[in-house]
């Protein structure tokens, strides 16, 4: 147990480092029009027009993030092994702490895929930030929540492997969408302030951020649908009915309905951009409530935390 907790701790610090680097990257990118703002001694004459510093910081940020992800993977793997050794089941998402560590893994994994594909690093300052917060919130949980306890009988089923992981993956996608929503608002603010600040230049244009946020939700939406349905199938085996309106399943349906409204809203005019960004942040808050609030505030069949 100690071993995996140590590794989760390491993950936390690596993510913190990665986040700082991404933020550094955003601010190190210089506005294209103001070469004279270059740090003293910086060889502007050598033809770096986008801040050589920035490029290097960006590369380091990506590498540190990759290390963080590897650490996170190893930590989850170690926890899985500890579970298997002592308890006979291995799903490393069997309690709130592990679930959050897994969500943070998924956010970072998703982000790296995204970076590989779109090569827009400044997104890291927001999305890696959310992954870091998930990991940080997990490590703030009291110690007794962090250890691996045996599963209560209702959870002791192979369904936990797939139902829980799929649902958590959808949360990660929505978290990315929320991060992009925040990024949109930041960029918009920078734009409104007028002069081309560093921040403004570092971020991709609004339309791109908006579109990426939408894509993240379009990944989360089918995953959540699948997760809910897997939950229903499990309930059909464990509880004697596929749907019993227990608070957790009801809340995941609520979250799904909220995003359902979002994807349809986007087809009507005026629901892109700012409104969509705010809505995505609101959606993320609802996801957080479904993930945390329900476990700690509402009672029901899912209250295993």
């Amino acid at each position: 147990m100690i071993r995996s907790l140590f590794l989760f701790d390491m993950t936390f610090w690596l993510y913190l480092a990665a986040l700082s680097l991404y933020i550094g990257y955003v601010f190190a990118r210089r506005p294209a029009a103001s070469f004279e703002l270059a740090p003293a001694g910086h060889p502007t004459s050598m033809g770096f027009n986008d801040g050589a510093w920035a490029t290097q910081i960006g590369q380091v940020a990506t590498i540190v993030t990759i290390f963080g992800l590897i650490m996170n993977t190893v930590a989850l793997g170690t926890r899985a092994y500890e579970r298997l050794e002592h308890l006979g089941t291995f799903a490393p998402w069997s309690n709130q702490f592990e679930a959050m560590a897994f969500v943070s893994w998924a956010i970072i994994f998703g982000y790296l895929l995204f970076e590989a594909r779109y090569k827009i690093k400044s997104v890291g300052a927001f999305v890696v930030g959310i992954g870091f917060i998930a990991m940080g919130a997990a490590s703030l949980l009291p110690y007794r929540y962090q250890t691996a306890e045996p599963l209560v009988p209702a959870l002791n089923s192979y369904w936990i492997y797939i139902h829980v992981s799929v649902t958590l993956l959808s949360y990660a996608a929505f978290a990315m969408a929320g991060g992009l929503g925040i990024m949109y608002l930041v960029k918009e603010r920078a734009e409104r302030l007028g002069k081309p600040s560093r921040l403004y230049n570092a971020l991709p244009d609004l339309e791109t951020i908006d579109e990426l946020g939408y894509k993240a939700i379009m990944v989360g939406f089918p995953l959540l649908a699948f997760g809910i349905i897997l939950g229903a199938m499990w309930a059909n085996y464990a509880w004697g009915g596929y749907w019993s309106w227990d608070p957790k399943e009801t809340w995941s349906l609520i979250v799904w309905l909220i995003y359902g409204a979002y994807i349809h809203a986007r087809m009507t005019r005026g629901w892109e951009g700012r409104r969509a960004a705010i809505y995505a942040i609101f959606g993320l808050l609802m996801v957080v409530f479904c993930f945390w609030g329900v476990n700690f505030l509402l009672s029901g069949l899912h209250a295993y935390a």
């Binding site: 045996p150 699948f226 059909n236 004697g240 009801t250 309905l257 909220i258 409204a261």
Partner: protein, 479 residues
């Protein structure tokens, strides 16, 4: 959204609508209303908001529970609005039904256009049309018009596009499309929402759900299946640290005298017979039966414990040295007395005020059947007896809680669920895009000007990239 409306007008020829209330008019308005995305958004949001009610207010509790927590007045409102059972109120069900009607109407209104667009002639477009598309550009390409068109068709086909081409004397036109499946997927999702709701309806009309509190060794009749169920055994397994690992019941299905099927069920592993499912749902202490009780027998005068005896449930036991015969004949977990029909009953299932009924036969002809309370020793005095009996402990009988249910709609729900996941996934990961190309030969014929334009209903970034790649490829088409 539907960038290019199909050339064929939808519906029947529209008569110059007199602003009366002609049936056509009403029909069109209704169709418009029920197919509108605004209604869909409204329903999604209202369902989301109302669904929270049941997660905050306990559902299907007894009236006392609500009155205690919220007060009489508020409880009246709850009953009126159905907040004590939100998900089965007429208004919540109606919202669900409306969502189904909404998505079916949407399918009815929009799907035919998508279907047609898969077969339609798309190569009779004009040059301005191409130039007005959301993404558009023109490239000069070496090579004759025909060869360029051939190269284009080949390139699109390689990229997995469906291609239509028309070669005219003045110009060649190419139409390429890909990802229509994404839009079909959305409509599959729309249909399957209704399939799921129908499955739920079938289940609630022709299925049932019951909870059975069953005791080891007993046989229960299951009228819905016309068979009997015997509980052979019930036990609990523990982890090393004392936490419950699993609880299990061995059940046997009997038809008449024949044992048809025996299975040990546990949580997550039910028994199914004749479409009736038996789940291990819970366990607990029975409230009307014990396995064994422990009594202290005291001398009334000296208050000295003369003997401690364990009595099995409803088994007579003789204590010859004291001249006693004792038997536990009844038990209640939470003593209550109904003064009207003079009956003892258990007020709740909790062991709040446990009591046994003890049958006593004493040597000199004294016989009595007093209730003896665990929490109130010495409440009753047995006249003429030289003893006092104190209940110092008991081991409750454990019951196994079985959920018994039959749901003929469940397979419909699974079909709908599979379709909805497939549909949403298709629509999420496949985006529909269309490209039109006009190839116009140069004055001398050695070069061609390629006008290319396209649009998509979403995934603008990906399409932009693809569009750029395609225009890059164009330049090297004929070399």
């Amino acid at each position: 959204m539907n960038g290019n409306r199909p050339a064929i007008a939808e519906g029947e020829s529209v008569p110059a609508a007199t602003p009366g209330l002609g049936w056509d008019q009403v029909k069109r308005e209704l169709l418009e209303f029920f197919a509108s995305i605004k209604l869909a958004m409204f329903l999604f949001i209202v369902l989301a908001i109302t669904a929270t009610i049941g997660t905050v207010i306990q559902q299907n509790e007894r009236a006392e529970v609500y009155i205690k927590e919220y007060g009489e007045q508020v409880y009246q409102w709850f009953v009126l609005l159905g907040f004590t059972d939100v998900y089965h109120t007429w208004w919540f069900t109606s919202l669900l039904a409306l969502l189904c009607i909404n998505s079916l109407t949407c399918f009815y209104k929009r799907f035919p256009a998508i279907w047609r667009s898969m077969q339609q002639d798309k190569v009779s477009v004009t040059l301005p049309f191409v130039k007005n598309l959301k993404y558009t550009t023109e490239v000069a390409v070496p090579g004759q018009k025909d060869r360029v068109a051939e190269g284009l068709v080949r390139m699109f086909a390689e990229k997995g596009y469906q291609v239509l081409a028309k070669n005219g004397p003045q110009e060649a036109t190419v139409y390429a499309t890909k990802g229509i499946l994404g839009r079909v997927g959305a409509h599959v999702a729309h249909l399957s929402a209704t399939v799921i709701v129908l499955g739920g309806l079938v289940g609630s009309l022709w299925g049932f759900q019951q909870f059975g509190v069953c005791l080891e060794g007993e046989t229960y009749h299951i009228p819905e299946g016309q068979f009997d169920l015997r509980v052979d055994k019930f036990w609990i397994d523990y982890h090393d640290n004392g936490a419950v690992k699993s609880y299990n019941s061995t059940l046997t299905v009997l038809e008449g005298e024949d044992a048809k099927l025996t299975k040990t069920i546990t949580v997550n592993d039910p028994l199914v017979y004749k479409d009736i499912w038996f789940y291990q749902s819970s366990y607990g202490n029975a409230w009307d039966r014990v396995e064994v009780v422990r009594l202290n027998i005291k001398d009334k005068k000296t208050d000295e414990v003369l003997h401690t005896v364990d009595l099995d449930w409803q088994q007579e036991k003789a204590l010859n040295e004291l001249g006693l015969k004792l038997a536990v004949t009844d038990f209640v977990a939470d003593f209550g007395f109904n003064s009207q029909d003079k009956k003892v009953y258990s007020k709740s299932v909790d062991h709040e005020n446990p009591a046994i009924k003890l049958a006593i036969w004493e040597r000199d002809g004294v016989a009595a059947t007093p209730w003896i309370f665990y929490h109130y020793p010495g409440l009753f005095d047995i006249k003429d007896s030289q003893y006092r009996f104190e209940l110092v402990g008991y081991r409750p009988k454990q019951f196994t809680g079985l959920q018994i249910s039959k749901d003929p709609g469940v397979n419909i729900v699974w079909v709908g669920s599979t379709l909805i996941v497939v549909g949403i996934t298709l629509s999420s990961f496949i985006y529909h895009r269309r490209l039109w190309v006009k190839i116009v030969p140069d004055a001398n014929g050695a070069q061609s000007v390629v006008h290319i334009g396209g649009n998509t209903h979403k995934s603008q970034i990906d399409f932009q990239k693809e569009f750029r790649r395609i225009t890059e490829r164009l330049k090297t088409l004929t070399t």
